[in-house]
């Protein structure tokens, strides 16, 4: 290893976490062989020049997130996160299983609630969830799917086991960075790509579009899909534009839409055009001022009624938030057993439900050792890490927990796995998580091979959110086929088609003479060298 990795093993030892790249003793794991080889060839100047150029490309392309009103490039680290095929197969199954269970749970919750009457989950827990919306109770959404797109956050604990940290089935974001990261890495670290098959991510927009079209209201032959964005000031606006662009559909704001007769239309220069599927990237609360916040300027009045009447598909469905409530999260393994009669493939992180008296007392005694999270938060908001918090913070937290035990959960502090990350003039271990994305078209749950690996750029930090100083890594899933010698890899055959001739036969005597001359020349391109 070059001196870029000089102090690495020592620093990695300090964290006590599982390192994705190196086994103890600084031996590169098998899946990282090629990456380690490529990095070994590079000097510090090379690495920082490439890192700079990648950052500049991101800024040029507008791959930014909005932070406190300022556009910032999303930092991409040069060392990818590599997942070997066998580990990925487990993750893929686990993610798909979870999505199917949550889908079934949501259908049940907004219908008969058998899960409650069968005693799997307390009724009160469901009805007190901030995102349980009675407005959408009692109807099956057009197309029959509620969780079209989901992002299931997983982490690897110190023992190297993957665990689910949280589910995102409302508006999971970040997939645009997956697409952009791969493009940037292909140009930033080309040496690491050859010789191994990395599963492509570029089919995501097509998968998404086909799932959205498939779940259109029945009777629509050629559905019109739109992406609904809150507007340019949203932190994920870049992602909305990218997805709309790559799917080739319109990106609309609430004011572009009109609801009439339980159908949705968009205003175009050619008059009103019917919209069949809305890929919703705004929060439920802002979607429909008739049903939710009356002061919302972002939504369109009447959407919920249109969805209820089956005139439009809203993806993801309204009211999904009840499924990614963090207290419901603690029941997901039970939900998997209840709905699918399967054992969970990926375990949860141990979670204390603070509503239960014993657990609460236990937690309140050990606040300084645990992570406490609000149940409906996202983006790392409101989360308190016990060991890092001051006495005052813990005291304030204690009061808030006692005042609203339903609002919080507690988990042990997990030492998230680490990946080498460029920091200053060397690589240091930094903690990462992983958000695989799943697309559900009603028949099949497809999991994008890879997902978004977020990395906490500050040494020792466990918070990977971009709004709190996180960056990202390209995530490579190695293909299944074992590393066979390259000669044996079958070359994709060029289909031999029979030559058909459709152009008129050249009859002009001058042309045919030219043709003879042509055949003696290799090509037009060489011919023109005569000029220069």
């Amino acid at each position: 290893m070059s001196d870029l990795f000089q102090d690495y093993s020592e620093a990695a030892g300090r964290t006590g976490a599982y390192d994705e790249m190196f086994a103890p003793g600084q031996l590169a794991r098998k899946s990282y062989g090629q990456v380690a080889g490529a990095l070994r060839e590079l000097s510090l100047t090379d690495v920082s020049a490439r890192a700079d150029s990648m950052a500049r490309t991101f800024l040029d392309r507008g791959v930014t997130f909005d932070f406190a009103g300022e556009e910032r490039p999303f930092p991409l680290d040069i060392v990818p996160r590599v997942i070997p095929a066998d580990e990925w197969n487990v993750l893929e199954r686990g993610v798909a299983q979870r999505v199917r269970a949550l889908e079934a749970f949501l259908n049940d919750v907004y219908d008969k609630m058998t899960v409650v009457s069968d005693g799997v989950i307390p009724r009160q827990l469901v009805t007190t969830s901030a995102h349980f919306h009675r407005q959408v109770h009692g109807f099956e959404p057009a197309g029959g799917v509620r969780v079209h797109v989901s992002g299931i956050d997983v982490v690897r604990d110190a023992a190297g086991t993957f665990r689910v940290l949280e589910d995102n089935v409302r508006v999971p974001s970040g997939v645009s960075y997956v697409l952009e990261n791969r493009r940037a890495m292909a140009k930033g670290l080309p040496e690491a790509f050859g010789q191994q098959l990395i599963r492509p991510v570029e089919e995501y927009p097509r998968r998404l579009l086909s799932a959205l079209r498939k779940t259109a209201p029945s009777g629509v032959d050629d559905p019109t899909v739109v992406v609904l964005t809150p507007g340019v000031f949203n932190s994920a606006y870049f992602e909305h534009t990218l997805l709309a662009g790559l799917m080739g559909v319109e990106l609309v704001e609430g004011r572009d839409l009109i609801c009439r007769g339980n159908r949705v239309y968009m205003r175009t220069t050619a008059g009103e055009q019917r919209v069949d599927v809305i890929y919703k990237r705004i929060d439920d609360e802002f979607l429909d001022p008739l049903q939710f916040r009356a002061d919302s300027m972002l939504g369109c009045p009447g959407l919920v009624n249109a969805a209820r009447a089956g005139g439009v598909t809203i993806a993801n469905a309204v009211g999904n938030g009840v499924a990614d409530d963090k207290l419901v999260y603690s029941y997901v393994p039970d939900l998997i057993r209840y709905y699918l009669s399967e054992e969970p493939v990926i375990a949860n992180v141990d979670t204390y439900r603070l509503e239960e008296k014993e657990a609460r007392e236990h937690v309140l005694d050990r606040l300084d050792e645990l992570v406490v999270k609000p149940v409906d938060g996202s983006g790392g908001k409101g989360l308190v890490i016990g060991p890092d918090a001051s006495k005052d913070e813990l005291e304030a937290l204690r009061k808030r927990i006692i005042a609203d035990p339903r609002g919080w959960i507690a988990q042990p502090v997990l030492q998230l796995s680490t990946v080498p990350t460029l920091s200053g003039d060397k690589f240091g271990p930094r903690h990462v998580d992983l958000r695989p994305f799943a697309v559900n078209d009603g028949e099949d749950v497809w999991v994008l091979p890879g997902g978004l690996t977020r990395v906490a750029l500050k040494e020792g930090s466990l918070i990977v959110n971009s709004s709190q100083g996180g960056g990202s890594k390209d995530t490579w899933v190695l293909a299944d086929s074992p590393q066979v010698p390259v000669e044996v890899i079958p070359r994709p055959t060029i289909t031999v088609r029979e030559r058909v001739s459709v152009w008129p036969v050249e009859s002009n005597w001058r042309d045919s003479q030219k043709e003879q001359q042509q055949q003696q020349q290799v090509s037009a391109a060489q011919e023109v060298t005569a000029n220069a």
Binding site: G194, L209, A524, A525, Q526, V528
Partner: protein, 308 residues
């Protein structure tokens, strides 16, 4: 205007467009090539070179040789450096007629050719730089040269070369037939987003090829480029004939364009190789006819004499 100057302008148009097209093709395909195992990389590199109109000299021709042949080899008119050098040479011969903006941007480009690392990462940057420079050259030509006869020659060269380059982009489909070939074809032409916006769900080789070949509104499609060339030829030689054409170039370009535009087919992909071959042939014939008519009349006269 002088034939010699007209010829120079015609070739500035062609060479700049060729550098632009080659940079686009290289940029996109380099990404693919890099993901291939060594042995396969070699054969794909050779096929790619063949699409660009040159033949590998030996069996060992691989990625580094491809980079040299398509990007850096100043001796070859197939390469980006060769094309830009030739464009600059032509501008130097016509320096008193081209605007100083156009000349300087070509000249600066020429001197910038050496300032890049010739490895894979450097080549990506090189390609991007070339695209910026060629866009600048076309922009300056557009805004600082009167749109008179000389301008028509420049645009004529550019349009013909563009048709030829798009044909080559389409031919790269055969080179990397695994995976997302149509996405690559479109990205080569910078047409990906434009294409997606015209299709609601119908993606695939056939539609992408159709778009690059036949679209009437996308400026890099072959039909569009040939129409541009046709219009230039009409403006250069406005003599209205009641019947037929005495201008060979117009006949060749017009025949190719109308054939494509009005051609109806059920299996475009099967016919694609022939279309590409004929388009490239038409471009080179038209280029010859233009040079016989406008640049090299002596040759033309001698030739006619032989017939009579």
């Amino acid at each position: 205007m002088l034939s010699r100057i007209a010829e120079s302008l015609f070739w500035i148009g062609r060479y700049v467009e060729r550098a632009d097209g080659t940079a686009r093709i290289l940029d996109v395909h380099l990404e693919r090539l890099n993901h291939l195992p060594m042995e396969e990389q070699r054969s794909v590199a050779q096929e790619l070179l063949a699409v660009m109109g040159a033949r590998a000299q030996n069996e060992d021709f691989g990625l580094p040789e491809l980079l040299n042949a398509l990007a850096y080899d100043k001796q070859s008119a197939t390469s980006i450096a060769g094309s830009l050098g030739a464009a600059r040479e032509n501008a130097r011969r016509a320096r008193e007629t081209v605007s100083s903006g156009l000349w300087e941007s070509l000249n600066t480009t020429y001197y910038g050719l050496n300032q890049h690392r010739k490895d894979v990462v450097g080549t990506y940057r090189f390609c991007n730089w070339v695209l910026e420079r060629t866009a600048m050259v076309s922009g300056l030509a557009d805004t600082t040269v009167s749109h008179d006869e000389s301008w028509q020659f420049l645009v004529l060269g550019r349009s013909l070369e563009r048709a030829d380059m798009t044909a080559r982009m389409l031919s790269t489909r055969d080179v990397l037939s695994a995976g997302m070939s149509w996405v690559n074809m479109l990205r080569c032409a910078g047409a990906y987003e434009s294409f997606l916006r015209t299709r609601r769900a119908a993606f695939g080789d056939q539609h992408a090829a159709e778009f690059l070949l036949l679209d009437r509104l996308f400026p890099r499609s072959i039909v569009y480029a040939l129409r541009d060339a046709d219009e230039c030829l009409a403006k250069l030689d406005p003599s209205a004939q009641r019947v037929g054409f005495i201008n060979d170039a117009r006949r060749i370009v017009g025949q190719a364009r109308t054939f494509l535009e009005f051609h109806r087919t059920d299996d475009l992909m099967a016919e694609l190789p022939e279309h590409m071959e004929r388009v490239q042939k038409a471009v080179s014939q038209a280029s010859d006819a233009i040079s016989r008519k406008y640049f090299n009349q002596a040759d033309e006269l001698a030739w006619v004499g032989e017939v009579s």
